[in-house]
Symmetry: D2
């Protein structure tokens, strides 16, 4: 349940305030160049630091503990571990009985019978996205020369969001945002009709990212308000290229050689310093909750690299699989 993929398989483990978070990748092709430095650029993109992100400052140092030999992947499982060094010693135990609105404090307790590591969100923490980014670094190498890139297209409903962000931080509040992701140089023929459609697999992974509440491909929700003659998209070239790419690069679940385009909605981070009401499970009454600590004003700010990572992971699996089918047909 903490794994995903058919051949290129990601398994994540760890807790925010435990010893480590990490990821094991199975199905990595042998012979790819890989070293710890390769992870740094994307880890830095995810890392806190810019305005609106938490000042928690982990070193986020990746250690490859299996699957690489002489700086090449071996074909055996590849495990990357991040030790948690900068763990706050504060007491989180009050979250057990005073769950934070919008967080997984209540559901985690219900799910795991109160045995979950509740410190800093534990296994539910956004720190687990380190593992996703590490997976993405390897996936991006696999899909090369295809490339995936994501960018923020709005924060708080605005394309030009700098002021908005300053204002919201002053109010001790938080903002959501929308990330757009594009995958280019994608061969036609990836994906399957129905359950393993490209949309199905990408959306599955995208909803694994904390705070995601929506996804749309191509014209998405807008196309639900259009006519067939407006959405339909003429093929203009033998390779399948179309005029407008209204379907976001996918027809019938399968890539059509246009760019894959999708947008992801991130809700505002639920951790805000403003006072909120919650249920006190010890005393069975409503009560005011104050959340202190280090929080992002907008998780979407760090999300582009995470969205890219899961998209690359989905595509890596599809590309590895597609090689089978072509080969057999030949």
């Amino acid at each position: 349940m903490n794994s995903f993929g058919r051949i290129f398989k990601i398994s994540i483990f760890g807790e925010s305030h435990g010893k480590s978070v990490g990821v094991t990748l199975d199905g990595v092709p042998a012979g790819m160049s890989l070293c710890e430095e390769d992870f740094i650029p994307d880890l830095l993109r995810r890392k806190s630091g810019s305005k609106g992100t938490t000042p928690r400052n982990e070193d986020d140092i990746p250690e490859i503990i299996s699957g690489v030999f002489n700086e090449k992947t071996t074909g055996a499982p590849l495990t990357v571990v991040f030790r948690n060094n900068n763990v706050s010693s504060k007491d989180y135990s009050n979250l057990v009985n005073h769950p934070r609105p919008g967080h997984a404090d209540f559901t985690g307790k219900i799910k795991f019978g109160g045995f979950n590591d509740y410190r800093g969100g534990g296994h539910f923490s956004a720190r687990m996205t380190l593992a996703l980014v590490a997976a993405g670094v390897v996936a991006k190498k696999i899909i090369n020369p295809a490339v995936v890139s994501a960018e923020i297209i709005e924060i708080g409903g605005e394309r030009d969001y700098d002021n908005i962000l300053t204002e919201t931080m002053k109010q001790h509040d938080s903002l959501g945002g929308i990330i757009q992701c594009a995958a280019k140089m994608i061969p036609a023929g990836l994906g399957e009709p129905y359950f393993d459609s490209v949309e199905s697999v990408i959306s599955h992974l995208v909803f694994s990212i904390p705070a995601v509440k929506g996804i749309e491909f191509g014209d998405g929700f807008r196309s639900a308000r259009m006519k067939g003659s407006e959405v339909n998209d003429n093929i203009i070239n033998r390779d399948g290229t179309t005029e407008k790419n209204s379907s976001g690069g996918i027809n019938g679940g399968i890539t059509n050689s246009n760019d894959i385009i999708f947008r992801v909605a991130f809700r505002p981070t639920p951790s805000i310093s403003k006072s909120q009401n919650t249920y006190n499970f010890s005393d069975d009454k409503m009560e005011v909750l104050e959340i202190h600590g280090r929080h992002d004003a907008c998780v979407a700010l760090r999300a582009p690299v995470i969205v890219e990572s899961v998209c690359a992971a989905a595509l890596a699996d599809f590309m590895i699989l597609e090689q089978i089918q072509k080969r057999i047909k030949e």
Copy 2:
């Protein structure tokens, strides 16, 4: 790749103009009452007939060929087959070289090297949703007393869409729409953090439905434009009930005992009688394509029961799994 689920597993097979479409369900609990009549109400909801749906008139008669004995499920795989009786004898072979815009004609050909059954969309046909609806009928019994219900909330951008539909049919065009689905009486604790989040699994299945281009849970894309203090949702009761259900019943991937709420965007059906351009792969040039035949002006009209079905299938699997975990904790 044509299967989905961990314990309650759906496998679909068939082609629009082949001998049959069908579904095998594995992991169905033994001892549930089930007979062929049980499938009729939902099959009728999916069936053509109302304004805006195709006049193709299959009998859609389900035959249970395994897994039921004395009108009870046996615990062995349950297979339901629908024979295709009303297959049009027209020649579909021109679609191979003149793919219809927005359809899977091009991608299916690329994917399967030209060996796919292209007649009426073959395995890509919306007729395959018969198999999904049959799976849904069984899933709904499994999740009882939880219930799933979906409804059209807009067609062509309008909540009151009757005129719009008449007008569009006159123009030989088609319309998209938005379906909202609600699952009620859902216990808290279903789902997992990350890869098997409830959103991940439901979206995976929803994107298996032809013509779906977007999904959002709770406040969805709207929440990306809101502040944390607006989206955050106070727990007001020991059972986890919240004030506004802004997260659509799911926190951290896990149900929180509120209703699960999501909306699905359907693009307009790509089959329109209006002239369109397409690429002629025999002669390597653009050319005008006229599509005749029996088509829906709006596939979303038949979609509520399909969306319900895949949602019920996802929940059936989660509920079966959840029983494990509770039992062990006890």
Copy 3:
């Protein structure tokens, strides 16, 4: 749980005295020639008729209901159904309370809470091996030019078993036997270390065949009684060919380009006409049971084609997978 395989996936369904037994194959490459006649030779090898096999005479007529178009596989799921025509009308309900020794009557009842179709063994019946043989026919085409062939090497402990068999039938008793299977022209490099070792996957499928109680590869149990210097096997050629093939074609879970060799032990069929004791679950006492009906004196007689089928299925999946890995390395 009624499916197996990673890319080439077999799903079986059906009951001995229900409407049908059948199989769905997913991951079949598109473009292979296939028609219903292709199944006949192996179905006949499995079929009853020779001395020691049951006179039950089903027609065993395969019907391909999906996945083939113009006598070529389409790449979509391939379903083959066998209708049960020659179902005995006798009453099997006494097996519920008087389970036959060595059969699954007791375990099936416990497993499925009494809802299993107990007639003729229901889903546990050896008739389900029709589905395995059908899968094998397709698998053998996929692995071509590799070939799999199995033969009886002993019945009742004898290589020359004809008299023994006659004698045992007179005694209304049954016999076990040993089948040896060889797969030739197998490329080196199939399989994985540990969980997906070639031995693991073949043994998994072989133990799916009713009445199998043992399997050994290469020198097998005999090698446990030998010295390393006797078992070790020199590579004598660049392609990996060894002197004696003591390891049965597999080292470290991976094929080494020698033939794969394994032997399978089949217990005697538990259905014998001799009187036996059993527990009467209605009256809670021991009681004498007489089994009448149509039974094999030795199920192993029909087993070679079944063992071949599951071996071919395992190899088909490995070969499809191996194509990925080679391609990526290149």
Copy 4:
């Protein structure tokens, strides 16, 4: 491919002479007591030291890096890592071109295109069984009060093998052996007909252990030489207990409430100090190979705890799954 299990899932990683070997367990129920000391007794049983085992002396210290909080399992993935401290600095690179007979040197090279970590067998090393034993420790807690115990029943064909072993070591040779494993207190109803039969799953895991070449359940190969009336086994009690347990606790793939009994054949370790021939892939000629280093004279000596571990892992998964099905039937 380096994972196994449906709910209780084992994923292993690591190399003999890399940084570490380890295991991630998913699906571990929350709330079980677990600390690093719990692993020690079984790790010691596996560890080198007694006569016939290699003097390589790793500390084999388990570190739990995720999934445990306050000495209880959390329900999140549980990862145990063993750092490799006592790694020999010798040069293994000659194995690449001079593969050792009976080892995976040749197949590993073919499989992974020469990129595998060949030092000390790399990912193929028997050191990976540390990961299996760690998984077994957790699995044994899950299946409690059921217990699994394995013992050596022969080494080199002898039940009393002490002298034999001394003699063989003098000859710089090695010996195989047979391990018998019994699982007691097993509820009836575990397992499935066909692909998830208890024999299928146990054998799958048992063949994941290096050097295993055969397995048999109950009377096994002996039953292939017996008559039905001899093998058939009367149920003598309402709970399913039989007279002789000739089927090793399993009928139709499903446990029958008797002990599960199976035997496993281990070939002699292929690493022997005696001179052997092998193919020299650099010069394309046969040549004499001398293997030095630290080796077991008989790997079977350390195998009982490994066989127990994989058996417990299989049973843990079955028991977790069985809880579902019972619950639903109720």
